[in-house]
Symmetry: C2
Subunit: 543 residues, 2 copies
């Protein structure tokens, strides 16, 4: 391929920090530090390991690890060799893990010793596997998988012959794959090409460049992911942080105390996570003595509650929403503040909105006939998208792929509106939305109202089947350790907004259930499917 | 083409400011203001005009205008229709203008009335032209070109049927073309595809995002170009400013007084120009009463002299170098400061260096056998490049295209070195470099030394043929209005550096010539080719 036909390949992302002679480091748990030339050297050695294990163009290589520099190395070396990196969701059930690894046809597995117990349960279900590499923080190799065992990562790296030059190939080559657990059925595989990941990096960076008032990042930032790296490329940030030559800090297994220590000692300035993780960090005892001022945190996965946003801002954080999903690489929008439309009053609401479309991302709200609805903040419909970085479909599942791309747009399954300032507002997941008395009730709005009560720590509003009204909302509430609140007191909070004409009277929950904790999915989102299964039976739908 | 196969098209750049509901404006000379929806409406109407004039996929449409909102509209509408926008260099001789328009096979011409006298001289040399549209600030149509005359721009816009939807097509479709005047021969055409321009926009924005200490831009900036829009897409900034939804100010014909007025009244914060234009603005009488603090100015086209950089910084400007050329779309590097390598001492030198490679740009220094030289700051060779946005060749000129891409790299024709911090340093154009006594002398270094003299306003150092030494340097100097300096005094400035061991004794100019002004090219760069022709004869090369 002549040099004029420049291909958008992941290997090219790595060239920029080296060309710019970045003096920053990749830090693992504050214990190991690598310069960018060292990172590149390790990636070239990892390429050597893979070649030695027989990986060729198209081979699937699976990884089971916590967030680490090792994982970052696989983000580059595996696709740079023309192989596809399969990021295993280690929070799935062993059954599902086996299904996804086998369905992806992975032949090589890099696995942290922490997941050996899981592997032992599923080993017999992975007939395609040919090689296993042990990942061990302590460097002590431990054999697993009998004849498949190929050695310990650091020892193999040390002994490897580095790849001299990674090959050139078509930018449409698949680089990554992973599985998304929808509300129904088996996990579905999505996949992304080199071109899509390079464009995701460039459009995400271009979107950040627009930010004038919040979310301003630069190469001088220090990055620490709080989303697992198996989860949609950690939102694409490891590629961006590397291209930018940033200081990067990987925390290993997530523990609030470890993370808080790293925030303080490494001077972390940019992270991303689901709201529950931020809540966990801010309320950890160790957090009280640490200065978190200037920490930029992008919240995704679930809506950012205004109460959490305010609590974070009171600690000096620059916190705002990012939106996307497994199928979208993921970033579709960021809640950037605009000088011409932000005020002191709507600052928090804007940060908690779903945000402005990212550079080149087209987002539309459509009705059931795919008519595009106006950006009036009132018209509610399904959110559909187009962008340069969306999965072309689901692996070996043409029917689901067809549905995903019905009518030439990617269907998010989320329900929302776009306001005249261009901000997207998600009402709810289409599967979770509450339709009662012919009206859509936003469970997010109700959750935000209940979270205003000083005793409420967390809450979820779900729709329960009801013969008369279709569905009726109920609330599940977790109180703070010494908090007190009665069911009527909480219903009254909603009733006040109804009386003020802000909400339909259908919005008052039929019931408030006090619980010790909320059900969460493998990636820390509220698991409303399970809540409906649990509470749907006991709920007293007597409205 | 299915929506999954997203094409990188210029029409998609325009979607983002609309989707983000940018409340900013496109301002022409402070006299006319357009919102982004109005800009889009005008672009759709311009598409209607072009269709009406018979433009089809592939038609070449030429523009001769000053920097204006009209020019911006053609940047979008022409390529969005699948046509190629030809940006005519209005500073070329009439002869060359005729050659380039005809060589590009332009069929439609948008021409400002200011250029009617030129057109009348060359009309008979443009047999391919089918339509002419008049551009008039005063709105008063003036017929030209006889039967080719098709009307005045604003009147045609008002009457046009807007294009409902611009077509989809392959991202490799040619979007723009223009001509570069090298040191020898006829002007050569370069051309860029939709994909290349979209990627230039995204990589340029990604490069700016890296900036932590200087050159920080955002959607809240106010953009005013000081490079003509016919000159390498005004360095790609109009596309970037539009994608970002920035406030944009177009000054029409360049006059320091107009520009200074707009800087003050429109609150301009980001511009780009050649050093001579910045010098002209800073020394204009009106400039003394205007607050220029915080104005970011990117300098390219020629090296940024340290004296000019200091003078600009003293006025509160954030000034630094960008590097590129017609063949490279253009931006290859920006002089961004890095926390880990910038100090108070090297701040100015770093800003005046050629800068760090832009995102995804690969820059190498090679010897005559195309061996890549080390980044040691000492090894000097030709600068070659790869990136996603380089012209594939010269129009209808396979030999020159072959030479341009010899060995799989684009040859810039510039001579430089890369230092261990990753900064590129251009010694000189390969055609201008002074080779004397077997050593390369950097004319830029000598110019910087002479510019230190308080009486020197501008200067150029050129190499003059010499039988004994190959070449010998001479200096042409323009003194400030009340400045005084003798030839010996100026030579002594260089001699001191020689005595200090910093320069070879070959560097002392044979002669210092005092001139009223320096010869400049059509885009305001020092025209050393002409200076050599003028002064080479008179110079006394007696060393």
């Amino acid at each position: 391929m002549p040099a004029q036909d420049y291909q958008l390949l992941i290997k090219n992302l790595l060239k920029t920090p080296l060309a710019q002679a970045s003096g920053k480091q990749i830090v693992y748990r504050g214990e190991r530090r690598f310069s960018y030339p060292e990172l590149a050297e390790r990636i070239h050695r990892l390429g050597g390991i893979l070649g030695h294990l027989g990986a060729v163009h198209g081979t699937r290589v699976a990884v089971m690890d916590w967030d680490s520099n090792r994982y970052l190395e696989t983000y580059f070396a595996v696709p740079m060799l023309g192989c596809a990196l399969m990021m295993v969701n280690i929070r799935l059930s062993p059954e599902q893990i086996a299904y996804t690894i086998d369905h992806a046809e992975a032949e090589i597995l890099f696995i942290n010793k922490d997941f050996y117990p899981v592997f032992k349960q599923i080993h017999h279900k992975l007939p395609r596997l040919r090689h296993i590499v042990c990942l061990a923080d302590d460097g002590e190799a431990e054999v697993i998988g009998g004849p498949l065992y190929s050695g310990e990562y650091e020892a193999l790296l040390a002994a490897a012959t580095p790849v001299a030059e990674f090959p050139d190939f078509d930018e449409h080559t698949i680089a990554t794959t992973f599985y998304t657990t929808g509300t129904t059925g088996l996990p579905k595989g999505v996949y992304f090409t080199h071109r899509q990941l390079v464009l995701h990096s460039l459009t995400l960076m271009s979107t950040f460049l627009m930010a004038g008032l919040n979310g301003r990042i630069s190469r001088e930032d220090v990055y620490l992911p709080l989303t697992p790296m198996f989860h949609v490329h950690a939102w694409g940030f490891p590629y961006v942080a590397t291209l930018m030559g940033m200081q990067q800090v990987y925390p290993g297994r997530f523990l609030p105390s470890t993370v808080l220590k790293l925030l303080a000692t490494e001077g972390v300035t940019i992270s991303h996570c689901v709201p529950t993780i931020l809540h966990m960090i801010l309320t950890a005892p160790e957090a009280q003595s640490i200065d978190l001022k200037g920490w930029k945190v992008i919240i995704g996965g679930s809506a950012l509650p205004q109460s959490l946003c305010r609590a974070a801002m009171a600690r000096g954080l620059d916190v705002f929403t990012g939106y996307g999903m497994s199928e979208t690489c993921p970033i579709l929008s960021l809640a950037l503040l605009k000088q011409e439309s932000v005020t002191e009053e709507n600052d928090v609401a804007t940060r908690c909105s779903t945000g402005l479309p990212a550079a080149l991302a087209e987002i539309a709200i459509v009705d059931e006939e795919m008519n595009i609805l106006p950006h009036d903040g009132q018209s509610v419909g399904e959110i559909v998208a187009r962008s340069p970085s969306l999965t072309a479909g689901y692996t070996k599942n043409p029917e689901a792929s067809e549905t995903l791309w019905h009518g030439g747009w990617l269907h998010t399954g989320d329900i929302g509106a776009i306001d005249p300032n261009g901000y997207l507002h998600i009402m709810d997941r289409s599967k979770d939305v509450i339709k009662t008395g012919g009206e859509w009730i936003s469970s997010l709005t109700l959750e935000n109202i209940l979270l205003h009560h000083p005793s409420v720590s967390e809450c979820a509003v779900i729709g329960i089947e009801n013969a008369r009204w279709g569905e009726r909302p109920i609330a599940i509430v977790v109180l703070k350790p010494d908090g007190e609140a009665s069911e009527e007191e909480l219903k009254d909070l909603v009733r006040k907004r109804v009386d003020a004409g802000e909400l339909s009277r259908y919005a008052i929950p039929d019931q408030v259930i006090f619980a010790q904790e909320l059900e969460k999915t493998s990636v820390g989102k509220l698991d409303k499917k399970r809540m409906r299964a649990i509470y749907g039976v006991t709920a007293n739908s007597a409205a």
